[in-house]
C-alpha cells in the first residue's frame, strides 16, 4: 500500500482562510452537536405528545398518532430532508417560500425541523411502549383517586414510562445525533461534511475520516456515560 500518511495535516491551515484543518473539524463537531440537541428538543416534545395520543382512549387521537408514526417512519430520512428543503418552500405561498429560502443558516433550521419530526416518530413509539408496559391497574388507580386523564399521565404514567424507556431513548438520541450527517446533502457543514471537505482539499482521506470517527466515538461515550448517571439518579429505591 502506498498511501502517504501525514498526521501533521490537522495543524496546517485550511484553504478556507481562517484556522487549521483541526479548527474546521471542530466547527463541524459543534454544528453536529447543536443540530442534534435542537432537533432532540422537538423530537422529545412532539414524540411524547404523539406517543401519548396512541395510548389515549379516544379512537381519533389514536388514529392521528398512528398516521404520524407510519408517515414519518416509512419515508427515508434523506427524502424527508429534500422535501423540507427543496419542496416545502415551493408549496408555500411564493412570498413566504422565497423568504424561507433566503434565510441565513437555512440548512441548519431545515435539518433541525426535519430531524425533529423524523425522530419524533421513533420517540413516540418508545413512549407508547413505555406506557403500555405499565400495569393496567396504575391507570385505574390514578383514575379511581379522582385524577383527570391529564393528571393520571402527568403524575402516574409518564414518570414511570420515561424511567422504563430511558435506555432505548438513549439509543434514539444517538441515532438522531448520527442522522445529523444526512443534512450534509442540503449543505449543513457538520462533522462528516467537514471531514469530507478536508479530504477534498488535502487529499489526506484517512486522517480526515479517522479524526471524524474518533470524535463520533467520543460523543457516543459521553452520551452513554451521561445516560448511565441519569439512570442512576432517577432510579427508585426498592425497584429491580
Amino acid at each position: 500500500m502506498n498511501y502517504n500518511w501525514n498526521w501533521g495535516i490537522f495543524f496546517e491551515p485550511s484553504p478556507e482562510g481562517a484556522g487549521t484543518y483541526a479548527d474546521m473539524l471542530l466547527s463541524g463537531l459543534l454544528w453536529t452537536i447543536l443540530t442534534a440537541l435542537a432537533s432532540w428538543v422537538i423530537a422529545f416534545c412532539l414524540g411524547s405528545i404523539i406517543g401519548v395520543m396512541r395510548t389515549l382512549p379516544s379512537r381519533a387521537a389514536q388514529a392521528v398518532g398512528t398516521a404520524y408514526v407510519e408517515l414519518f417512519r416509512n419515508v427515508p430520512l434523506l427524502v424527508q430532508m429534500f422535501l423540507w428543503y427543496f419542496v416545502l418552500p415551493e408549496l408555500l405561498p411564493a412570498e413566504l417560500g422565497s423568504r424561507i429560502k433566503q434565510l441565513p443558516n437555512a440548512p441548519f433550521y431545515t435539518a433541525v425541523i426535519c430531524l425533529g419530526f423524523f425522530t419524533a416518530a421513533r420517540v413516540a413509539e418508545q413512549v407508547r411502549a413505555g406506557i403500555q408496559a405499565l400495569p393496567r391497574g396504575q391507570r385505574l388507580a390514578g383514575t379511581a383517586m379522582g385524577f383527570t386523564v391529564a393528571q393520571t399521565y402527568r403524575y402516574v404514567l409518564l414518570p414511570n414510562a420515561y424511567r422504563i424507556i430511558l435506555p432505548p431513548m438513549t439509543s434514539e438520541f444517538l441515532n438522531n445525533l448520527k442522522n445529523t450527517s444526512v443534512a450534509l446533502t442540503i449543505g449543513l457543514l457538520e462533522l462528516t461534511a467537514r471531514a469530507r471537505s478536508m479530504q477534498e482539499f488535502s487529499f489526506q482521506v484517512f486522517e480526515a475520516f479517522t479524526a471524524a470517527t474518533i470524535l463520533y466515538v467520543m460523543i457516543n461515550v459521553v452520551v452513554i456515560v451521561a445516560a448511565t448517571l441519569l439512570e442512576r439518579s432517577l432510579s427508585i429505591p426498592g425497584q429491580r
Binding site: 502506498n2 416509512n74 427515508p76 427543496f86 462528516t192 484517512f206 470517527t213
Partner: protein
C-alpha cells in the same frame, strides 16, 4: 403551488426510475441484507464465543459501526476499498472497484453490525436447556449451534431481521452522496435535469412510503403468526 404540478415528467421518466433506479435499490438491498445477515450471525457467534481477543474484536467492530453515521461509513469504504483490494491482490496501486460493488461492501459491513445485535439477542433467547439437551445427545458445540440454536434464533428473530431490512432499504438512498443512480438518485437526476424538484421528490416519497408501509404491515402479520405459534 400544487396547481402547476407537472405529472408528465413523472410518467415519462418511469422506465428510468424503476428500470434503473429501483432495480439498483432492490438489488443492493437484497444482496446486502443476505450477506449482512450471514456476516452478522458470524459476528454474533464470535461475540458470544467467549474466546479472548476474538469476542473483544467482534464486540469492538459492532460497537464502532453502531456509533458512526452511515454517511461517514459510506465515505470510509468508498476510499478504503480500493486500498484493501490492492493489499489483497498485492497490487502496487489502489484497485478501482465499481460503484455498485463499493456500495454493496459498505452496506454489508455496516448492516452486519445491526444484524449481529439482533442475532445475539436471538441466540441468547434460546433457553440454556436446549443446548444442554443437545450436548447430552452427544452433539458437538458446532452441531448444537447449527442444528438447534440458530434455526430457533432465526425463527424468533425473523420479524426483527425483516424490519431491519426495511430500514436498510430506506438507508440505501444515502448512496446519493456517491452520486449513484439508485431510485432516489434517478429521481434526483430527473428533477435537476428538468427543474421539477417538487414532482420528483414527492413522487419518490410516495413510492418509498407505499413500499415500506406495505412491507412493515406484512412483517407485523408475520410477527403475530410467529407469536401465536410460540
Amino acid at each position: 403551488m400544487l396547481a402547476n404540478l407537472d405529472l408528465g415528467v413523472i410518467v415519462s421518466s418511469l422506465p428510468y426510475l424503476f428500470g434503473q433506479g429501483m432495480v439498483f435499490t432492490v438489488t443492493l438491498t437484497a444482496l446486502a441484507a443476505t450477506m449482512g445477515v450471514v456476516l452478522g450471525t458470524l459476528l454474533a457467534i464470535l461475540r458470544l464465543s467467549g474466546i479472548p481477543g476474538v469476542w473483544h474484536l467482534a464486540k469492538g467492530y459492532v460497537e464502532l459501526m453502531r456509533s458512526l453515521p452511515l454517511v461517514l461509513v459510506i465515505f470510509w469504504f468508498y476510499f478504503l476499498v480500493p486500498y484493501i483490494g490492492a493489499w489483497a491482490t498485492g497490487s502496487p496501486t489502489p484497485i478501482q472497484v465499481g460503484a455498485f460493488a463499493s456500495a454493496l461492501i459498505t452496506f454489508t459491513m455496516f448492516e452486519a453490525a445491526f444484524f449481529a445485535e439482533i442475532m445475539r439477542a436471538g441466540i441468547q433467547s434460546i433457553p440454556k436447556g436446549q443446548t444442554a439437551a443437545a450436548l447430552a445427545l452427544g452433539m458437538t458445540r458446532a452441531q448444537v449451534m447449527r442444528t438447534v440454536v440458530l434455526p430457533q434464533a432465526f425463527r424468533n428473530m425473523m420479524p426483527l431481521l425483516l424490519t431491519q431490512t426495511i430500514i436498510l432499504f430506506q438507508d440505501t438512498s444515502l448512496v446519493y452522496v456517491l452520486s449513484l443512480t439508485d431510485f432516489l438518485g434517478a429521481a434526483s437526476k430527473v428533477a435537476q435535469r428538468d427543474g421539477r424538484l417538487v414532482e420528483m421528490y414527492l413522487f419518490a416519497a410516495v413510492v418509498y412510503f407505499l413500499i415500506c408501509f406495505m412491507a412493515s404491515a406484512l412483517v407485523r402479520r408475520l410477527h403475530s403468526r410467529v407469536a401465536i405459534v410460540r
